[in-house]
Amino acid sequence: MDLAYLWFFIVGFLFVGYFVLDGFDFGVGMSLPFLGKDDISRRQIINTIGPVWDLNETWVIVAGACLFAAFPHWYATLFSGFYLALLLILLALILRGVSFEYRHQRDSERWKRGFDTMIVVGSAIPALLWGVAVANIVQGVPIDENMEFTGSLLTLLNPYGLLGGLTTLLLFFTHGVYFVALKTDGQVRQDARVLARRSGIATVVVAAVFLVWTVLLAFGEERPLAWLVVIMSVVAAVLLIASVGANLRDREGWAFGLGAFTIVAAVLGVWFALFPFVMPSTTDPAYSLTIENASSTDYTLTIMSWAALVFLPLVLVYQAWTYWIFRKRVSRTRIERAAAIAH
């Protein structure tokens, strides 16, 4: 059963990876109405994530599959319980994904603006709802003696859940705007720095409230790793403030890197707050799903562990290499040249 504890953190790692990577994709998408003043600049923004959004999104597929394999009950309770929320996320991800591919296929203003709107909406909905979902998992939801969720979509829209959603929304937004500043040049880059200053401050305020609330929740529910939640919350807060500071000094790389680690620390804090549960029940603590009662057998987890041990490092290496290949800024002139060639 010890391996189940390892897998609690591997699943956590995969979701951290997903939130860090697709998190800035969402932010980049949401920044379009603020930074994309003409078609060239909008294309500049979209092309910052062009080669990587797909591999970033793959993280949620792998996280979901590993959740299924390592914790079938967690996967089953969560996915059937949060049905409508996940439906909205799925629809948003579909619309966003095809929009990247479709928007440049036709040279019509209406066509392009339509897909731009879908990118913005398709980025904002998951950015909000992932936070709502994670906050509700930590806080606990009504679950009966058969591990079945007994609430509805409205159950999830409680103050702490909504605050969680707002936190991820702002965090991903700022994270994405940092990325735009890091990966573009000219006016877009300037505008992105300025925008990140404003959104950064709002993010700090909201995230601070959320982290304090999470710490109080962890202590109130007497979760065993509450002290680690405190540490991670402080780390997350410091990193976030440092990233805002780096942006003020126009250190784009630092701002983005620190922003990424803010997400790592914050999700880790939430994971510690959850431990040793995976889905606490508010109906009766005895009905809660825990690492032990929700997991797969030792045999399955052993095989999975070997696969993760061999392949996760490899995945990290070749994905890091991909980012290295596409390290250059997406310049305005490059998009203009591409537009000229297409005509």
Binding site: I46, N47, G50, P51, V52, D54, L55, E57, T58, V60, I61, V62, G64, A65, C66, F68, A69, A70, F71, P72, Y75, A76, T77, L78, F79, S80, Y83, L84, L86, L87, L90, L91, L93, I94, L95, G97, V98, F100, E101, Y102, H104, Q105, E148, F149, T150, S296, T297, T300, I303, A307, F311, V315, Y318, T322, I325, F326, R334, R337, A338, I341
Partner: protein
């Protein structure tokens, strides 16, 4: 009929979203290979023709790929969302191949496709060529793991029941991965995917050749498509035969249902009907066109083999093998017969038509041909695409509908797998939403693919044009969104 029956709605949703997803999967599996082959030819010969073909079919591949990715996420989420009882029951086994797929295959595929699309001017030629091959192989591994997961539903192996009977637990992962159903289904699926890709290549080439445009390149791709179709059809037929044998030994009811064979039959009587007209209630037949021995031959590879019939299997299942499930299915363990019967025939028939197109095409375009290819032949060839796509989709309908009433053969009924906590109206909302969005996207998708296909590859320089400069790829943005 209860319009808010969660089971019925969830089944419709799964069928719809899965078939829709599978519109894109086979083209990804086969077109990745096609593009990789064309690019290899360019890499080796330096001929501009191959470069343009690579780019051209690459575009079609990419328009298609994005849809495959986004509709694929729905598939994975849906097990938990709509089939939570099933997920709890099989998660210990079924989840592992899915996780392996993600870690070992899909990450590769997604990453290296991105490198290929955007890496034309950023990677050395050889490395860039390698990215499309890695993506291709990643896609095939994906297919393998998914088929291994599916094979467990058809023929559960490598497991034992938990002590409290609440779930199946894995005891032998190697057995799960080498499930005979998976090993037979993998070549069958890959060859079928390649047939469909060849169909796409044939259709597009024929469309251009009918109009006499891009003749040099389109003749090349046409020959590739025609030969590819023949080779792939041979692979599909051989692996399909193998899959049939495995099916007879693991799911005899599915074979009986494929032939709508009610009473066990041997030798001459185990005939295969090409066509039949049943009584309105579906329990008997009015007339049929039959080939004696063929069913025995298909099922057992022996002329005097015996094939078990539905009635005998039902008696066996109800009294001896699965009495605990008999009441739930009213003693009838057979799938819906008209679906299995006709889907089995249409799968084979459409596949055969697609292959026949290729044979005719090779004859008409042979080197010694004295007459030009008539227009009707080009028009006919354009149907290679829909025919091969139809065959592959209907094949899946047969496989999955033929598994009913089981969600996992012999272990769990489909009706017991559905999520107990999801109300019918939620499933109705999602079914309507998926149907609406998928339909709208289909319109856009088909429009874009047709537009790209009809636009054709970049033209080759004519004899009077100045000789082409060395293709400058350095920092030339070939792909931008």
């Amino acid at each position: 009929m209860d319009w808010l029956d969660p089971l019925l709605l969830a089944r419709w949703q799964f069928g719809l979203t899965t078939l829709y997803h599978f519109l894109f999967v086979p083209l990804t599996l086969g077109m990745a290979l096609t593009v990789a082959i064309f690019q290899t030819a360019w890499f080796r010969t330096g001929s501009l023709k191959w470069l343009h073909l690579t780019r051209f079919f690459g575009k079609i591949f990419l328009i298609n790929f994005a849809m495959g990715v986004v509709t694929g996420i729905v598939q994975e989420f849906q097990f938990g969302m709509n089939w939570s009882a099933y997920s709890r029951f099989v998660g210990d086994i079924f989840g592992a191949p899915l996780a392996f797929e993600g870690l070992m295959a899909f990450f590769f595929e997604a990453t290296f496709i991105g490198l290929w699309i955007f890496g034309w001017d950023k990677l050395p030629k050889g490395l860039h060529l390698a990215t499309i091959w890695i993506a291709t192989i990643g896609a095939w591994f994906s297919a393998y793991f998914i088929l291994a997961a599916n094979a467990f539903m058809q023929n559960p192996v490598g497991y034992q029941m938990a002590e409290d009977g609440s779930r199946a637990e894995m005891t032998d992962f190697l057995a799960v991965l080498t499930n005979p159903v998976a090993l037979a289904a993998l070549p069958h699926t890959l060859f079928a995917a390649f047939m469909m890709t060849a169909g796409v290549v044939i259709s597009i080439s024929a469309w251009h050749l009918l109009r006499g445009q891009n003749v040099e390149m389109m003749r090349t791709s046409l020959r590739y498509g025609l030969w590819g179709m023949i080779v792939a059809f041979a692979g599909v037929a051989l692996s399909g035969d193998q899959l049939g044998l495995v099916m007879v030994s693991t799911q005899p009811m599915k074979m009986a249902a494929a032939e709508a064979l009610f009473d066990s039959a041997c030798g001459y009587d185990a005939s295969f009907s090409l066509f039949s007209i049943g009584t309105p209630d579906g329990t008997g037949e009015v007339w049929s066109l039959r080939i004696p021995y063929l069913l025995a031959l298909l099922s057992t590879h022996s002329l005097d083999g015996c094939v078990e019939g539905i009635n005998d299997l039902n008696a066996l299942y109800t009294t001896e093998m699965f009495p605990q499930f008999a009441d739930q299915v009213d003693g009838n363990f057979a799938p819906v017969l008209w679906i299995t019967y006709w889907s089995f025939r249409w799968m084979i028939g459409l596949g055969g038509i697609a292959a026949l197109t290729a044979v005719v095409g090779l004859w008409l375009t042979r080197k010694k041909a004295t007459r030009p290819v008539p227009a009707w032949a080009w028009k006919l060839a354009i149907w290679a695409w829909p025919a091969s796509l139809g065959a592959i989709l209907i094949g899946w309908i047969f496989t999955e509908m033929g598994r009913q009433p089981w969600i996992v053969f012999s272990l769990m009924l489909t009706q017991d797998g559905v999520s107990p906590s999801v109300p019918g109206w939620n499933v109705l909302i999602s079914l309507v939403a998926f149907t609406g969005i998928y339909a709208a996207l289909a319109v856009v998708e088909v429009g874009l693919i047709l537009k790209t296909a009809q636009k054709g590859p970049d033209a080759l320089p004519g004899p009077d044009d100045p000789p082409p400069a060395e293709v400058a790829l350095e920092d030339t943005p070939t792909t931008v969104y």
